[in-house]
């Protein structure tokens, strides 16, 4: 996660050295945090060791940096931090986990920012690769996190380009003229849900998106409906082939 513009995250244990079993885990944990920060800093430009040490919250940061250099994850030449192959791979993975977790929490569970971040930080350390790919597929292989930063592509996304479509996407992501079958609706109010269902918009109905602006225009069977954009975003569909 990007600490460059966020305060310390509450509710997280700090692990120091000298922890036995947890120590092992905590070091990998710390490494992940460091890799993550390095990645986000690198998105803005080259990273100097000095800058990094000012930014990081990990207590043993310089010590761990040197360890990572020994393991050939990173190089620390001329005061600049650069990823080596192994470090790059691991950092990419952790970033992908974090940003997909952010997407999942904000879109599907609609968590507010202040709750989303800490949860995403926990998620990133526990998602295993299979689950991660399922989450990514479920969300439709989103290219960016809610803050607009790119999500590194995973193996599932490459496959998707060739053979797979995302399972579920907001109606708003359909292209004009495409059809989709409604999977679920996440409305803000009961009345809204009931009104939509009175007009035939229920899970299982097939809708065609005719227009997005100045308002959403949908076709369900022979009915044409116009609705506000924010309502259109609450309808999730599976694209019809």
């Amino acid at each position: 996660m990007n600490r460059a513009n966020e305060g310390p995250v509450p509710g997280r244990k700090r692990h120091g050295r000298g922890w036995n079993e947890a120590g092992e885990k905590s070091e990998s944990h710390q490494r992940e945090e460091i890799l993550e920060l390095l990645w986000t800093m690198r998105e803005k430009g080259p990273v100097s060791v000095e800058e990094f040490l000012q930014m990081t919250e990990e207590e043993e940061a310089d010590h761990i940096l040197r360890k990572m250099e020994r393991d050939e994850w990173i190089s620390l030449k001329e005061g600049q931090v650069a990823f080596l192959e192994e470090g790059e791979r691991r950092a990419e993975e952790i970033i992908r986990r974090h940003r997909l977790a952010e997407r999942l929490l904000s879109e599907v569970f609609e968590l507010e920012e202040k709750y989303m971040e800490p949860s995403a930080c926990q998620f990133e350390h526990i998602l295993n690769p299979q689950v991660l790919d399922s989450v990514c597929t479920f969300l439709g292989h989103p290219p960016t996190c809610p803050h607009g930063k790119p999500i590194p592509r995973g193996p599932c996304c490459a496959r998707f380009k060739r053979e797979m479509e995302p399972l579920v996407r907001p109606l708003a992501d359909l292209k004009l003229g495409e059809e989709g079958r409604i999977v679920f609706i996440t409305p803000r109010s009961r009345i809204r849900l009931e009104r939509l269902s009175s007009l035939g918009l229920i899970p299982g109905s097939v809708v065609r998106l005719a227009q997005k602006r100045p308002a959403f225009v949908l076709e369900i069977g022979e009915t044409t409906l116009a609705l506000d954009e924010d309502i259109g975003r609450e309808v999730y569909v599976k694209k019809n082939k």
Binding site: S189, R190, I191, R192, L193, E194, R195, L196, S197, S198, L199, G200, I202, P203, G204, S205, A210, Q211, R213, P214, A215, V217, G221, E222, T223, T224, L225, A226, L227, D228, I231
Partner: protein, 658 residues
């Protein structure tokens, strides 16, 4: 067929009642007109049938009372007019139902059929717009559907009176549709429990129980009339318990199950071939709501209306009636008769003086206002029947959102350009109270009615484009400002914009003529007496010498603040009786060259924003209650003066030449 119906021998003095029920815009009112020989506004948006129309019918050789109801999509009401329909069904135990359904949208029609079945109403199903369905490659197995539901099913094209002949005959055969969707076991259990709590003799208990489960707030009054507090609490308890067992709101769950049941019915009787609709029609339809392409169409429509109402109605029509019919024929003739009959000057002036009932009141009403309103209603009828209005709602949705309104509010607003009083009545189609209040306020504040516009167009004729744009800018700005402010102050949610868009159709001129005439009749009944009253009021004031006194009283404001001649206070005073009447007074002054261009703009802005006319004010009281009506008037009156005065000072201060 007959075995499922209980033939009740109705007492001879009770005329059986039949209600027309159906989704919005399926042609209920056209069928109503055919059945009763009367005409109610038929239109392409839900709402003109808000005032429930009733008429006698002799179709099929029996006397019946036919009730036309507002369109519904569901019997759990979402808006005031949907509630009216539900209550009609609930209150009248022996009511028969003609359910009108758009053949191409059978799915949504059957959703209502299921609910009528649960209410145990005898139903005849009319599949209207058979031609449109056929065009789109839809075939419906009418007989299969009739067998399945065990009710008569007709296929019609109401606008061309096709297939309606059988209606009288099959009404005798109407009976309760034999179709019952089964909900989940838990819901069935809850329904049974509630049914047992309802009054013994109540018909359609199942429907009521389901409405109550879905948390229908609008049933509260009905319940309190019939059941004790304890029982109501029990019912609420059952509904709460069930809700806690379901993830989704119960109403939604029930709708879903109903639609599933409908889809099962459709499988056997409804077929649609893949066929492209007329590409031209579709392209045009898409263009009308296109974010960019829709704008020129919108402007073209507005311009055509302005030309038609402004130039033809307010120009040629008014000139002809005012100068030829009244000026050369009626007024001289009446003057001659009156002078012959009454030798007293007092009475002569009462009829034909400067404030005479005929020479002023009737002349204004018939010669100035009628042609304008008539041409407007005709244009509005075209817009309605062609299906353009809902598309307009899509186009203006964004602008309206700024004012805390949804695009739906454009319908009363546009109608307000015809007559604000009528438009205030149609605010009922809006879903939230907040929206109804806002639209009522904005109508009263800044939407000039066509009579007023017509008179203004006459005044604009002598002004530069700059002045007209300035007037429009100030009025619109005031409305957006007030809307923005009021939407912040009035509690409540912004209404969702969910609106059905009917297909574009070529209107039938005959229908539009009939509709225009019906509206004109309404307008004349409402307006002419007020005109005469206003004239009499002025005449009395003039005779008593009070007119001068009032002018003197208002002079500091009118002359000092608005910078208008003292005489203009008359026009403003009359503006309360009828806005157009006030505008007409200004028009006469402008024609006589008593106003310079700044004065014209200031007076027009003031009279546009000025208090609503008496009729509109009464309508606001009727719809919103006296308190709100007074609050609105109390705000609008000073606001209009402040804006007018401010504009006057600004223009004079900057030395603007208009």
């Amino acid at each position: 067929m007959d075995k499922c119906c209980e033939k009740k021998s109705a007492a001879p003095e009770v005329i059986p009642r039949v209600a027309l029920i159906g989704n919005p815009n399926v042609g209920k009112s056209v069928i109503f007109g055919w059945l009763t020989g009367q005409y109610v506004a038929v239109s392409n948006y839900p709402g003109t049938a808000v005032e429930v129309a009733q008429g006698n019918s002799k179709v099929g050789g029996r006397r019946r009372v036919i009730v036309d109801t507002p369109g519904i999509n569901n019997l759990i009401p979402m808006s005031e007019d949907e509630r009216v329909t539900r209550d009609i069904l609930l209150d009248d135990e022996d009511l028969k139902v003609i359910q009108v359904c758009d053949a191409k949208n059978l799915r949504r029609g059957l959703m209502i059929t299921l609910q009528l079945a649960e209410m145990e109403k005898p139903v005849v199903l009319v599949l209207n717009m058979a031609d449109e369905a056929k065009e789109r490659g839809i075939t419906i197995d009418r007989h299969g559907l009739a067998q399945l539901l065990e009710i008569p099913v007709l296929s019609t094209i109401a606008t061309r009176r096709k297939g309606l002949d059988g209606l009288g005959k099959v009404l005798e055969e109407s009976c309760t549709p034999q179709v019952r969707p089964i909900y989940s076991p838990e819901i069935e259990e809850g329904v049974t429990a509630i049914e047992n709590l309802l009054p013994e003799k109540q018909k359609g208990k199942r429907a009521l129980a389901l409405m109550l489960l879905a948390g229908d707030e609008s049933l509260q009054d009905w319940l309190h009339c019939r059941l004790s507090e304890q029982v109501i609490l029990k019912i609420e308890e059952i509904s709460r318990r069930l809700q806690s067992q379901h993830q989704e709101p119960l109403g939604f769950f029930i709708n879903q199950k109903r639609l599933n049941a409908v889809d099962r019915i459709l499988e056997g009787v409804f077929r649609k071939e893949k066929r492209s609709r007329g590409m031209g029609a579709r392209a045009l339809s898409n263009l009308t709501t296109h974010p960019i392409g829709g704008v020129p169409i919108l402007l073209a429509v507005l311009y055509a209306m302005y030309k038609w109402v402004g130039d033809f109605g307010a120009g040629i029509g008014v000139d002809f009636l005012l100068n030829v019919v009244f000026g050369k024929a009626i007024n001289p003739a009446v003057t001659w008769v009156v002078e012959y009959l009454f030798p007293w000057q007092f009475l002569q002036e009462f009829f034909v003086g400067p404030y005479g009932l005929v020479t002023m009141g009737l002349t204004y009403a018939i010669a100035i206002v009628l042609p304008i309103v008539g041409t407007f209603f005709f244009a509005f009828g075209l817009l309605e029947d062609s299906g353009y209005l809902p598309r307009l709602a899509v186009m203006v949705n964004r602008v309206f959102r700024v004012m805390g309104l949804s695009g739906k509010a454009v319908l009363p607003m546009v109608l307000g350009l015809g007559c604000d009083t009528m438009a205030t009545l149609t605010t009922r189609v809006l879903e939230t109270k907040k929206e109804r209040i806002l639209v009522t306020l904005l109508l009263a504040l800044g939407v000039p009615c066509s009579a007023q516009i017509g008179v203004m167009v006459g005044m604009f004729a002598g002004l530069s484009m700059k002045a007209i744009v300035l007037w429009a800018f100030v009025v619109m700005g005031s409305m957006i400002f007030v809307g923005l402010l009021a939407s912040k102050l009035i509690p409540g949610e912004k209404a969702d914009f969910i609106m059905e868009i009917p297909p574009l159709r070529i209107p039938t001129l005959a229908n539009i003529f009939i509709k225009t005439l019906a509206r004109l009749e309404w307008f004349l009944k409402e307006a002419v007496p007020l005109f005469l009253l206003g004239t009499f009021f002025l005449f009395a004031l003039d005779r008593l010498g009070l007119l001068k006194a009032l002018q003197n009283m208002a002079a500091p404001i009118v002359v000092g603040f608005l910078g208008l001649p003292a005489k203009a206070s008359q026009a403003l005073l009359l503006g309360f009786l009828r806005r157009d009447y006030g505008a007409a007074g200004l028009f006469v002054m402008a024609k006589a060259g008593e106003l310079d261009s700044i004065q014209i703009v200031v007076s027009l802005v003031t009279i546009t924003l000025f208090v609503p006319c008496v009729a509109n004010f009464f309508m606001i009281i009727k719809e919103r209650g006296l308190g709100q009506a007074l609050a609105m008037a109390g705000f609008i009156f000073p606001f209009a003066l402040i804006v007018g005065g401010g504009l006057n000072f600004l223009l004079r201060f900057l030395g603007v030449n208009l």
